[in-house]
Symmetry: C2
Subunit: 111 residues, 2 copies
């Protein structure tokens, strides 16, 4: 998985454990794709300061995942549900409405 | 949900964020159903000390859930997958082997 997607997932799970400033910078950098310079300007700090906050936030999020492994567990669940969906698509005959409801549920859980 | 089941779930998700002693006491008390007195005796401490460690651990686990809400999210997923399973059981005709494989996957994900 790319670093960008991975950081966004980590942030989805553990972001609330960061300070408000760390949260803000991570959102702007990883979810809204702003550059270090743009964030620095917006907050009136140096690029280096933004860089340091982001590194610190990444370190914290990574440590939580190392301890708890909940993102890895979630990805494994997603893989399994994808497998269940494929099996249903290939092998199941049921009315279209039920099938679409089941698909909808599984997709919602897969996130 | 009963407190016992709830504490065991919280511990499954966030237990690794407790100290080793907190983990040990929570496991013995909530998962293995030892009494405060039995744990106290085993570790050579007072019943009150065991009680205090457990209260502190409960507080920490509860705080993490208040911040992250991952157990609540998991329970909602489980509810939804249960719904999908019911729909499949009622409406789906497919060969027995496939059905049992899909059921197995969904149950595994439901934990």
């Amino acid at each position: 998985m790319e670093k960008l997607a991975w950081m966004n997932l980590l942030y989805d799970f553990y972001g609330q454990l960061l300070t408000q400033r760390q949260q803000k910078f991570v959102e702007l950098y990883y979810a809204h794709d702003l550059s270090l310079g743009e964030i620095a300007e917006q907050f009136g700090v140096s690029r280096q300061a933004v860089h340091d906050v982001l590194k610190r936030a990444e370190h914290i999020l990574t440590r939580y995942e190392e301890k708890l492994g909940l993102v890895a567990k979630f990805m494994e669940q997603r893989r399994r549900l994808g497998e269940a969906l494929s099996l249903l698509d290939e092998n199941c005959s049921m009315n279209e409405e039920t099938l679409s409801r089941v698909r909808e549920i599984l997709r919602a859980v897969m996130g």
